[in-house]
Amino acid sequence: MTAPCPTDFALEAYLLARGHTPTSGHIQHCERCQARLARMEEEGNEFRQSVYPATIDAVLASRARRSWPWLKPALWLVPAVGLAASVLLVVRDPHPLADYIGVKGGSVELSTFTNDTGAARALSDGSTVSSNAKLRFKFRTDHACSLWIISVDASGEVSRVFPEAGSAGATVSGAQELAGGALLDGKSGPERLFAICGTGRLRFEEIAKAAHAAIPPGESSVRRQRTIGGLPPGTLQTTLLLEKGTPDRQ
């Protein structure tokens, strides 16, 4: 018996999850569903090409009239582990709206949040944070991949940030908040985070070796070097520079 075609709602889920839904099998073999998806993609392009440019200014202006009303409700999202007050977010890739480095057809975004000044805030490239700030991350990828987040400081030390354990990266797809977080080491100076997502089994040792080769010790090289070369083809990466100041009293 032929399964019924999914509803528009299910097709939206398919588009948002980039094909990773229970209806994927049906859709791939159903001409009618593929035609529906093509129409939906066309309407999506219509949004990106005409609706978005025509309305984004009004959206941002309206948003600016509000004072981040979602920050407080979002606080509960942060695990209570040691984070009494908390943070929020963000993340950001250095190049707004084109903020990814990767192969054609793929992109990744890393958002980083902290509350080191007592109020939740999103961090942008070059943000100054306390040297012992706690960070939270949200990550988004167009395609499922194996994620590592590492950091490199001025001494040339490469540290593992996420996942905290295991010999392989964490498999991620779509957008998600990352469990755990990071606590900076208390030393002042620049520190650069890299989110690296590959399709193969990439070990931390390989990434650390590539990072050492790309970023020699020194503050200027940490600030200047935005990519790590020598990684397997198809590996996506994005980066965020943090300037660590003095530590906060805990």
């Binding site: 075609c5 309206s62 509000r66």
Partner: protein, 162 residues
């Protein structure tokens, strides 16, 4: 752009197409869908749900867009003194055609949640369980409101008959 603005703009680019398609489907007017899309997005920004992953955000997008666009249609219908003009999903069985007619004629007489349930079933062709997930309500609520909708709709039609 500030970091907050960048984050908002990125979220808008990601989920805007979903909102726009939903609004286009209900309102059937590109201009009306464009206006509704930004208004729906601003409503979603007021909610902590927008912090979720895109897939997890889908029910919120669907629910908010459906409610908003039904309200837009209802207001327009009132101004023009005519019934809501809805297109039905091709998968909805022809056996339910009388219910389709009922839906078309009296939808605007019900609260927005009942409207959304009726639209989900008769316009979008969704099963009750899927619709419950999309609207963030229980299957029991969907069933109860749908039954009440049909009962009251039939009463209304019966009273309207000469």
């Amino acid at each position: 752009m500030t970091p907050d603005q960048q984050q908002v703009a990125q979220l808008y680019r990601r989920v805007g197409p979903t909102i726009y398609r939903r609004c286009l489907r209900i309102l059937k007017s590109r201009a009306a869908a464009q206006d509704a899309t930004q208004e729906v997005f601003l409503k979603i920004l007021k909610s902590p749900h927008h912090f979720r992953a895109d897939e997890a955000l889908l029910p919120t997008l669907y629910q908010t867009a459906t409610h908003h666009c039904l309200n837009v249609m209802r207001d327009a219908a009132r101004r023009q003194k005519k019934h809501l003009d809805l297109a039905f999903a091709p998968d909805v069985s022809t056996d339910s055609f009388p219910e389709r007619q009922l839906t078309q004629q009296i939808l605007s007489r019900f609260d927005v949640e009942t409207q959304a349930i009726a639209v989900g079933v008769f316009v979008d062709g969704m099963e009750q369980a899927e619709l419950a997930g999309a609207l963030g309500v229980s299957s029991k609520t969907v069933s109860r409101k749908l039954t009440r909708f049909l009962t009251n709709a039939r009463k209304f039609i019966h009273r309207s008959e000469p």
